[in-house]
C-alpha cells in the first residue's frame, strides 16, 4: 500500500498522468515519472481513462475487505456491510473518470465515497426520510466553486491589489488559474483552454488557490 500523497503537492502531475501523453515540459516529465504505475492513483486513473478491468480487479482486491470491515463497524450488520462493498466498488467504477490527482489520494477518495454510500445504506435501512442524501451533505469536490467565484468576484476586484501581494505564496499552477479568472476575466472554459488543462483540474486549482488567498486575507484582517 502506498502512502498518502500530499494533496497540495500532487497537482502538478495531474494532467500528465491523466491523459497519458508525453509530458510537455521536463519538470512535468519528472513529476510524471514519479507516479508509480502500480499505485492506487495510477490504477484508478487507468480505470477512469480506459475502463481498465485489470486495474479495477487490483483495486478491488486491495479495498474490498477494508470496505467490508468499515461497513461492519459502522452498520454492525454483515449483510449491510456486504451491500456496502457492492455499492462502494460500483461507485469507484462509475466515478473513476471523474477522479484526478487534484482530488487527493485515491485512498481518501475511496474512503469518502465509501463513507457516503454507507450513510445512504443506513438511512435506507432505517427508513429515514430521503430528503437528503450523502451527496448533499458531503458535496463532490469542486461543486462549490461556481458559487464562490460568483460571490467573491465583487469584493475581489476591489482587493486585487492586496491579493497580488499574496500571489507569490501560491503554488505556480494555482496562481496561473487564479490569474486567468480574476485578472484576465476569463470564463472557466476559456481559462482551461488557455492553460491546456482539463476543466475539473482548473476548478480544483481555483478552489485551492482561492481557499489559500482567503485564508491569507482572513488572517490579516
Amino acid at each position: 500500500m502506498t502512502t498518502l500523497a500530499p494533496t497540495m503537492g500532487s497537482f502538478q502531475m495531474a494532467s500528465v498522468a491523466k491523459d497519458n501523453t508525453p509530458a510537455r515540459t521536463s519538470k512535468m516529465a519528472d513529476a510524471a515519472s514519479a507516479v508509480d504505475q502500480d499505485s492506487d492513483e495510477s490504477l484508478l486513473i487507468a480505470v477512469g481513462n480506459h475502463q481498465d478491468t485489470a486495474a479495477f480487479n487490483l483495486l478491488f482486491g486491495r479495498f474490498a475487505s477494508r470496505i467490508y470491515a468499515m461497513g461492519v463497524k459502522l452498520t454492525r450488520n454483515e449483510q449491510l456491510a456486504n451491500d456496502l462493498v457492492q455499492e462502494a466498488m460500483l461507485t469507484v467504477w462509475q466515478k473513476a473518470p471523474l477522479y484526478d490527482l487534484d482530488r487527493g489520494s485515491a485512498q481518501s477518495w475511496i474512503f469518502t465515497l465509501t463513507r457516503n454510500r454507507c450513510f445512504d445504506i443506513l438511512r435506507k435501512m432505517k427508513r429515514q426520510p430521503s430528503t437528503v442524501s450523502a451527496d448533499d451533505i458531503w458535496p463532490p469536490e469542486g461543486e462549490l466553486d461556481s458559487q464562490f467565484v460568483h460571490e467573491e468576484q465583487g469584493s475581489l476586484e476591489a482587493e486585487v491589489e492586496k491579493i497580488e501581494r499574496y500571489y507569490d505564496q501560491l503554488p505556480a499552477a494555482q496562481r496561473a488559474v487564479v490569474e486567468q479568472i480574476y485578472i484576465y476575466d476569463r470564463t472557466h472554459e476559456e481559462a482551461a483552454a488557455a492553460l491546456n488543462i482539463p476543466l475539473g483540474t482548473l476548478k480544483s486549482r481555483l478552489r485551492l488557490g482561492m481557499g489559500k488567498l482567503r485564508q491569507l486575507l482572513g488572517t490579516e484582517e
Partner: protein
C-alpha cells in the same frame, strides 16, 4: 470573505463528520456551516485524510487476510457485474430550484444542503415571543427546525436537556455569552440556561441531537453527551 465567522464546530464534531458517524441532522447543520466557512472546510479535508489513514491502519490485518475476528466473504463474483456497468463521464448537474427563504423585506439564500432540506416545503408555526418555527424530519435521532426570530423578539429563558446546535443563516441574535451572526455555529447544552434575543431579526437552522448519534469509533470521544436525555425542555412563558 468568511473572516467574520466567529463560532465553529468543535474538532470532535468535525471528526465525526469526516468519519460519517454522526446523525443526519447533525451532518446537515455541519455541512451548511462548512459551505460558508473556508476554515472548517479545510479542517474537514485534513480530518478526512486523517480518517483515511486511520481506516487503512485499522484494516491492515483484514486486507492481509490475517484478522481472525472478522470472517470476510469472498466478493470476487461482484467484479464482472460491476465492470459491465456504464461509467459516469460528467458530474451530475445540480438542481438549484429551491434555494431561498423569503423574509419580510428580503430573501435569504440558503446553503445548498438546507435548500435541499427545505425543497419539500416548510410549514411555519407561531411560537411565543415573536418566534416562528418550521420543523423538518431528517432522522429519528434529532429534532431539526428553521427558526425565524422577528426583529425585537426574545425567546423565553430555557434550558436544553440535549445538545442544541444553532446555525445563523441571516441576521443575528445574542445571549448572555455573545452575539452570533451569519454562519456562526452555536452549541448549547444542559449546562447553559440562556435567553436569546434578536434586535435586527434572525433566521436560523437548529438541530437538537440525541445521544444515540455517538455509537462507535472516534465518535466515542463525545460520550459526555450520553449523560443528557433526548428531550427538549423548553419551558415557554
Amino acid at each position: 470573505m468568511n473572516a467574520e465567522v466567529k463560532f465553529h464546530p468543535a474538532e470532535e464534531l468535525l471528526i465525526g463528520f469526516a468519519n460519517g458517524t454522526l446523525s443526519a441532522g447533525m451532518n446537515v447543520v455541519i455541512s451548511a456551516h462548512i459551505e460558508q466557512c473556508a476554515i472548517c472546510r479545510e479542517k474537514t479535508s485534513r480530518l478526512e485524510a486523517q480518517a483515511t489513514v486511520d481506516w487503512l491502519k485499522s484494516t491492515e490485518s483484514v486486507a492481509a487476510d490475517k484478522d481472525d475476528s472478522l470472517s470476510v466473504p469472498n466478493f470476487s463474483h461482484m467484479v464482472a457485474d460491476i465492470t459491465s456497468q456504464p461509467q459516469l463521464r460528467e458530474q451530475a448537474l445540480e438542481d438549484d430550484s429551491v434555494s431561498e427563504i423569503h423574509m419580510l423585506d428580503h430573501s435569504v439564500k440558503l446553503p445548498k444542503v438546507l435548500a435541499k432540506v427545505a425543497s419539500k416545503g416548510l410549514v411555519w408555526k407561531k411560537l411565543a415571543g415573536g418566534i416562528n418555527q418550521a420543523s423538518v424530519t431528517l432522522d429519528d435521532q434529532t429534532q431539526c427546525e428553521f427558526l425565524y426570530m422577528k426583529p425585537g423578539s426574545q425567546v423565553p429563558v430555557h434550558k436544553h436537556q440535549g445538545t442544541e446546535v444553532t446555525l445563523v443563516l441571516d441576521g443575528s441574535f445574542s445571549d448572555e455569552m455573545g452575539k452570533y451572526e451569519k454562519s456562526d455555529f452555536v452549541v448549547r447544552d444542559k449546562s447553559h440556561t440562556h435567553q436569546p434575543v434578536s434586535e435586527e431579526g434572525c433566521l436560523c437552522f437548529a438541530v437538537l441531537d440525541s445521544p444515540l448519534m455517538f455509537t462507535s469509533g472516534l465518535a466515542r470521544l463525545l460520550n459526555p453527551f450520553l449523560r443528557y436525555r433526548f428531550n427538549r425542555a423548553t419551558s415557554m412563558g
